[in-house]
């Protein structure tokens, strides 16, 4: 009961935030919510399936650049929808090719995807349109962007919760603990893997599309490998096999890096690195592991397959 009340209060606070907060804190909340959406959608695929994806930057970048291309010609939130479709379609294609690969091979392949997308885009823009880089001259209002990102983060969390209770989620966890056994048991592993990968990529594309208007100018450098790594770090920091983990990780990392950045201009990277090392050493199951110890709930416990395995 208390948990439900707290959740209701949190949702109300997030919805009311743009009214209460100054533009800076609203932007900080927006950036953290975007990270929450990325980390949660990364974790609902990579957590149970144990396929380490470094393609977040590619899907995010694709969505962002799409917004820059269609800017002003289509009303909001169509670019976000387009970004989701774009990310999903890319993931279907890539998944069909790459999800046969296991372990480090899959990670390396997905890491290369952002570079591939970047250089394809440069080739296209220089060869066909004759310019690289686009301006977004009429961005949506800041509060529009805030609510778009809030919706995406909320949807990502709901999707993650729904997934882990579904047969599909169990199948994914089964793939994670032993893919061959899962296949023998009659699970269509290819379909489950590619489907979830595409769903997670759709969220990443949508988040990219929704964040793009904040930067006015976009060029192919938006396919940034840093986004991929940061997402993995946030999810692992919080605990990748739970739903609460990536949320806690994104909020913690977002707040910690902002505070360190503001207070210690020259030492913040050192501080951030030390914090990460301490957390990883002291809490091998992530920050969410702390929550689990005190109160078991569907938000903070690993999926059924994980417990059985």
């Amino acid at each position: 009961m208390a948990a439900k009340l707290a959740l209701a209060l949190l949702v109300m606070a997030l919805v009311a935030a743009p009214e209460i907060l100054s533009p800076y804190y609203r932007s900080l909340a927006l950036a953290i919510l975007a990270d929450v959406a990325l980390a949660v959608s990364w974790a609902f695929f990579s957590g149970p399936s144990r396929y380490l994806s470094l393609a977040t930057g590619a899907f995010f970048g694709a969505g962002a650049y799409l917004t820059a291309i269609v800017e002003a010609r289509v009303p909001w939130p169509l670019p976000v929808l387009g970004g989701a479709l774009m990310g999903g379609a890319m993931a279907l294609l890539v998944g069909a090719l790459a999800l046969r690969l296991r372990g480090p091979y899959f990670a390396v392949f997905t890491f290369g995807l952002a570079e591939l997308a970047k250089h394809s885009l440069i080739w296209y823009e220089t060869g066909v349109t004759g310019t690289v880089g686009r301006l977004i001259l009429a961005p949506p209002e800041p509060w529009t962007l805030y609510y778009t990102i809030l919706c995406l983060a909320g949807l990502a969390v709901l999707t993650a919760l729904a997934l882990r209770r579904s047969r599909w989620g169990y199948a994914l966890a089964g793939i994670g603990s032993d893919e061959e056994r899962a296949e023998t048991l009659g699970i269509d592993t290819t379909r489950v893997k590619i489907g979830t990968f595409a769903l997670s990529a759709a969220f990443m594309g949508a988040v990219g599309a929704a964040m793009a208007p904040r930067w006015t100018y976009l060029d192919p450098q938006v396919f940034n490998p840093f986004v991929s790594f940061q997402t993995v770090i946030m999810a692992l920091l919080g605990g990748a096999t739970t739903v609460a983990g990536p949320i806690v990780g994104a909020v913690f990392l977002g707040l910690a890096s902002e505070i360190l950045l503001l207070k210690f201009r020259y030492l913040y990277l050192l501080g951030l690195g030390l914090t990460l090392i301490v957390v990883v050493l002291a809490l091998p199951s992530g920050l969410a592991g702390l929550l689990r110890r005190s109160s078991p709930s569907p938000l903070s416990s690993p999926p059924a397959g994980e417990r059985a395995g």
């Binding site: 800076y24 310019t131 880089g133 060029d219 450098q221 503001l262 201009r265 020259y266």
Partner: protein
């Protein structure tokens, strides 16, 4: 025992220092003028930010505070306090911090971050909250499209830069010193815009380009391009480069034993470390904007002060414009105070005399500084084009690579 004594001394010294600071504050005559900005201390933008902008910001602050502060109309001198962070070369971080500066810290003035994309990202915020932003490192033909009244670009833009390139090449061709021009450009916005401007400018000058090659940002090997140009008998190399590829091309030209009479490149050539890296880089040409020999008032003093404070020379292109942007703000604040719409009014309507020469803005673009070409000659980056501003005459063919 000795440890304890050291601890004791430390504490005492710390206490004394804190006491002095507190006293200083208590006795402080005036509230500081708070000026906010971000500069990249980490990430890909940090090199340029650390050469062209950062040193000039801190130099200016130190100089002003040594005089008792920034002269504010009607209030006397007030010390300058900087509020800044490392934007990590991330647009999102920069955007958020400029929002913080405007709405949370409510700073008196803002200074721009480094680089075209960063300036694009934060300019709408500065504009929204009415902060004049004078950008010394924003180069793009797209700046006009932004139409942000509070944003100003000090540096020469692609059309002006390539106009100067075409000017000097045309004259050298008329003198029979070159005949075959080839261009290599980095295929991001900067290189592509310069290349587009080059095509127009060179055509207008009646010059033929025998080959044009592009290469990606972060390229690791340019020797095939250089060998191709060498085989084609190119005698004027034009590189529309960033610093890393500029340095790569220069070192590889020597490796493939190619020394064309004209070696002309874009960003990086004007950095003193380029000169030092290539043992004087005698005869190498590049985009220029300034050197300590120019006739503008204070140029030499600026050079000496920069060397004295930072133990390194300012670069010969944008550094002086970064400093000039601060001189412009300083003069406006002295004449109209910290009322920002009034500052904007003055920036719009005044021709400023700066260390980088006269600067006047029309619709946010500096129209007083023409495109310039420089050439390293005996340790100085002499301006060799246009003739009206020249501090030296071009040496063509360039001497062999050192």
């Amino acid at each position: 025992m000795s440890m304890k004594r050291r601890e004791f001394l430390k504490t005492t010294a710390g206490g004394a220092a804190a006491f002095t600071v507190l006293r200083g504050k208590a006795w402080g005559q005036a509230k500081p003028v708070r000026i906010g900005y971000t500069l990249s201390a980490t990430g890909p933008y940090s090199v340029g930010a650390g050469i062209t902008q950062g040193p000039n910001y801190t130099l200016w602050q130190e100089q002003a505070n040594a005089k008792g502060g920034l002269l504010v109309k009607g209030e006397g001198r007030r010390p300058i306090e900087f509020i800044s962070i490392d934007d990590r070369s991330e647009h999102e971080t920069a955007v958020r911090f400029y929002e913080k500066l405007a709405t949370d810290d409510r700073v008196d003035l803002m200074l721009p971050p480094w680089g075209t994309a960063m300036n694009f990202a934060v300019a709408p915020i500065a504009n929204k909250y009415g902060y004049p932003l004078l950008g010394p490192t924003a180069v793009s033909n797209k700046i006009k499209d932004l139409q942000l009244p509070y944003f100003y670009a000090l540096l020469q833009q692609p059309d002006q830069i390539m106009g100067a390139f075409a000017g000097i090449l045309k004259e050298l061709k008329a003198q029979g010193k070159i005949s075959k021009i080839a261009i290599a450009y980095v295929n991001d916005l900067f290189g592509i815009e310069l290349n587009a401007s080059a095509a127009t400018a060179l055509k207008e000058a009646g010059l033929d380009v025998v080959d044009v090659k592009s290469y990606p940002l972060g390229v690791k090997d340019l020797s095939p391009v250089l060998k191709g140009f060498k085989a084609a008998g190119v005698d004027a190399f034009v590189g529309l480069t960033y610093p890393p590829d500029n340095i790569l091309a220069t070192s590889q030209a020597k490796e493939v034993d190619w020394n064309p009479p004209v070696w002309l490149a874009a960003v990086g050539t004007a950095f003193p470390f380029y000169r030092d890296r290539f043992k004087g880089a005698e005869g190498v040409m590049g985009i220029a904007g300034w050197n300590p020999k120019v006739k503008s008032a204070g140029a030499k003093e600026y050079f000496d002060a920069h060397v004295k404070k930072h133990q390194k020379e300012p670069d010969r292109w944008a550094s002086a414009f970064a400093y000039a942007s601060l001189q412009i703000l300083e003069r406006c604040v002295a004449e109209v105070g910290l009322d920002r719409p009034k500052i904007k009014g003055m920036v719009d309507s005044t021709e400023f005399q700066t260390v980088a020469g006269p600067i006047r803005f029309v619709k946010g673009s500096n129209v007083s500084t023409p495109g310039m070409v420089g050439q390293w000659q005996k340790g100085e980056f002499e301006i060799v084009w246009p003739k009206s501003l020249a501090t030296g005459t071009p040496v063509v063919p360039k001497p062999a690579w050192a």
